[in-house]
Symmetry: C2
Subunit: 621 residues, 2 copies
Amino acid sequence: MKRILTVLLAAVLFCLPRVAGAAEQFVSFSKGVRPALIRLDPQEWPGVKLAAQNLAEDYGKVCGKALPLTESGFSKIKKTDICIGTLGHSGIESLLTPAQISSLKGAREKYLIIATKDRIVIAGSDKRGTTYGIYTLCEQMGVSPWYWWADVPVEHQDKVCIIPGVYTDGEPAVEYRGIFLNDEAPCLTGWVNENYGGYTSGFYVKVFELLLRLKGNFLWPAMWDAAFYDDDPLNSYYADMMGIVMSTSHHEPCARAQKEWHRYGSGPWDYTKNKEALDAFWRKGIERMAKTEDIVTIGMRGDGDEPMTEGQNIELLENIISEQRKMISEVTGKPASETPQVWALYKEVQSYYDNGMRVPDDVTLMICDDNWGNVRWFPTEERSGGYGIYYHFDYVGGPRNVKWINTNDMHKVKDQMTKCYDSGIRKIWLVNVGDLKPMEYPIQFFLDLAWNPDTQVREHTREFARKTFHAYEDEIASIIDTYGIYAHIRTPEMLKAETYNIQQWSSIVQLWRDLRDRALAVKEKLPARYYDAYDQLVLFQVDAFCNLHEMRMAEFYNDQEAVNKYFARDLELRDYYNKVIAGGKWNHMMDQNHISYTYWQQPEKDEVPVAKEHRMVFDGR
Amino acid sequence: MKRILTVLLAAVLFCLPRVAGAAEQFVSFSKGVRPALIRLDPQEWPGVKLAAQNLAEDYGKVCGKALPLTESGFSKIKKTDICIGTLGHSGIESLLTPAQISSLKGAREKYLIIATKDRIVIAGSDKRGTTYGIYTLCEQMGVSPWYWWADVPVEHQDKVCIIPGVYTDGEPAVEYRGIFLNDEAPCLTGWVNENYGGYTSGFYVKVFELLLRLKGNFLWPAMWDAAFYDDDPLNSYYADMMGIVMSTSHHEPCARAQKEWHRYGSGPWDYTKNKEALDAFWRKGIERMAKTEDIVTIGMRGDGDEPMTEGQNIELLENIISEQRKMISEVTGKPASETPQVWALYKEVQSYYDNGMRVPDDVTLMICDDNWGNVRWFPTEERSGGYGIYYHFDYVGGPRNVKWINTNDMHKVKDQMTKCYDSGIRKIWLVNVGDLKPMEYPIQFFLDLAWNPDTQVREHTREFARKTFHAYEDEIASIIDTYGIYAHIRTPEMLKAETYNIQQWSSIVQLWRDLRDRALAVKEKLPARYYDAYDQLVLFQVDAFCNLHEMRMAEFYNDQEAVNKYFARDLELRDYYNKVIAGGKWNHMMDQNHISYTYWQQPEKDEVPVAKEHRMVFDGR
């Protein structure tokens, strides 16, 4: 009977349209098929093998003992083995029905998890499909994608079972879904240098794993003082092996970091004056990435992410792109259109487009927001290369950096990204996430939304809270949600004593204090083993931004003593994050100055603000 | 045994300090002493008799049949009569122990409610003490002070009983606790004209009753186009009879309305040019109020609540006040110091004080806020006349009127008024409440705080919600509380498309929409008989202010169609308040224009705003 139901369920699954991202809970901790072994084919993708190894270890985190893993293929399956395989790359087809095979064939990044009483199969349409299937199982077992990156504890279970059935998340709505590690000093760089001696593969493997657990597949790497392909040859190796598609940022053409030009380039970064050197420099980048899935950034901006010098114009840029594409074609031996390329309409570059500049239709046009989360335009014409969006959760630039903590309102992100999706921006969704931490929740939301644009903010936040803390999910979700809304109204870096007037300050601070009280109240109720995760994902930012508001209000009211107190608390909170949370694991991640701003760029040092007399009679200002 | 407990309780009551305002729940709907009759002495104050009559009727609202009432005194008490009397003014002493008498004697506005199985006694130290005792019983029976003013329904009970014991609220912390009906056109005046043919005693008796039920005792009457003493001779008669202390506003000296000068005065409103006429005018005011408890406003401002003309100075003002006091002394036949007087340091008048101007020590110095709820200074020296505070919930003036709806944050009110109390401002607490509606909750809070400055905002809001709606008190209180905080951040009249930037609008509107959703969700759960009260006290303002934010955001985003829609909804909401709530009882109360402001003064008409293109890239503005 159960068998029939399963078959029926499978039949239903392949007939009815599935909502992407909605794999139901298939893990049970009481009944169902209990796995004994993980089984892979020796020909399986190395990246899938690595994910399977993580599954084995995650099982150990949950149940106390890792699952054994064999690469001896599927010829001698024992009951309840987990058989993992990628279509066309292992013998997994032998365990699938023709309908299952055809539902995977040609699909993008799709997995099927098929549990019967005889076995559990995780089959993927491609290496990422299989990997996502594996990590979906990990998450359902209770291992958060953030288990390492935010120290989310794993709840012990006596057993892990799979409920018989066929499960899938379908295919992603957006093809490339990723993050940009940017504006990465002092925090991320300080932490990376201390832990990995630089932006090396030890670090990137952790990032790739996180991305894959979040069902992302795309990354722009750190580039302030780093060169992804050059710093450690294993960086690109692991990306390709694990299934992460790399690219270089919007102003770093041809898969070469700007830092590489500083290391190896000669002459000016000016195509009119130094064509030969630049061509040679770029060709090397193409050669290096040619065997990967990486996307080639084309075009050119001025050195240091500035506009090109005056006089450099549309004609020149069209010529540059034409030369770059010729290079791609020459190196790959295929038409340029067969290598994915992206041209980013960042800042002034959009005006070239507005003024009529066009690139070949196969190039993905990457639309950019205004750096503050407002998308500047939405396409109305189709193009074969499709459209991407480069969005910002973090920004370095005017009027003020947004670098310290998360200031993003998911409702706005949902609104803007839904508009992107609806207008056909479906090729690339990329978001600048600064130091990665403490941007955990926005990253999760962004990547989930890229998989399924129907994702609803509040359901999502609640699910995130539930899966992460296993209790108080309504209240925690409401705190995360409210924090984002409040924080987005005015960023910490722009908050000054003058931001609010005598009518507003006390009400604004009341809102923040109430939110902090709520966040503290939840922490008191949580088991102590959740403190590290809760501090990182919820409390720290609420507390620190509340304290900053209190400090600015004290400045407004000319209360130097209170200013000193709140300033000292700001430093204490910074130290707490760096030195106390998770035993100091995240040291440097809160090194970011955020108080003594005088112009757009960050201050060298935060110093106690000087309180002064402000207008004490309300006159509307 | 019960008797002994009662006596013990009484003993404890008079030994331990009592927290003012904390009369515990002494009404039960199941057991205790069940009243049969209300009994008064024929010599009782008429105002107390009127309150007792209201008690008899309130009992009828609760139980279906009014309590009978006799004025035959206390010689033939039957079991469980409610015996009401004021110390020294009725034979109530015969029903009190010596300890009870001494606890009332010389006390201010204090009541004792003493329930034994033989009888229920409501004894007051003075007429207001007795009245407050009566209305406290009414409220505990379930008749809200707002039963008429906000149509709060009365829950039916099969019986009303008093739990044996001795109950008191002690004495008020602040001597005069009142409101100022001001800026009263078009709303209050429109409503008053339609219902009472002007500011007559029919209207004022309703106001006085409300004030007494809220344990207030002080009123500045409407004065834009009204003259309290002159419009209806019964106005002052009822105030005095019921126990309301009147005064005239800060710029209307000697108990004469400015309107009276326009009606009867001759020559300029200038003491240097028209001393004789002004003296005669003012003397008449003193003569008229001489037999009341009213407080005489002294000093002078320019006509129409403007500063006096240039050149008029401290010396002149000191001379005016000296003449006014001479007049008071001559009319009353007593030293001026025996008639309570107030001098308001409103706007520029405070600078006279700052520049050294002083008035005799027995005059109450009335400190004023900046019209926006920020108290400008706190006294440091004691004075025999004490200090008052003139506070604003509503304001007409620059930068923009605050007239439409409630925009007050009770946390700020608590903060400011506690500072007032702590610095010795304990003689008068007066607040400008505009049209009275929809300022219900802030009025309740202000007067309760004046009785007991230890009142805590959130406990109070919760109690208000519980007593008013008898359900969902946590959620309703949170909505009221949050509304006040949000509304105070930017008043409706000052809210423009330009108020927020592209970074802020969506988050601000998200906050408002969430709050409206919560307010609507509560209404859906409430019984329909609560809709009128809920609309007036909670929902209307949340909904209307949310809608205004939506309209301004649509203007910002240049979406004329949406602007039109929200503007139309604003008019619908206005009509709903005026014509639908309580069957149109409050017609005109929402006549206030609030959209088409171009300078501080209200617009003649609200017209659809014209959406326009705003800055769509965030640059910090």
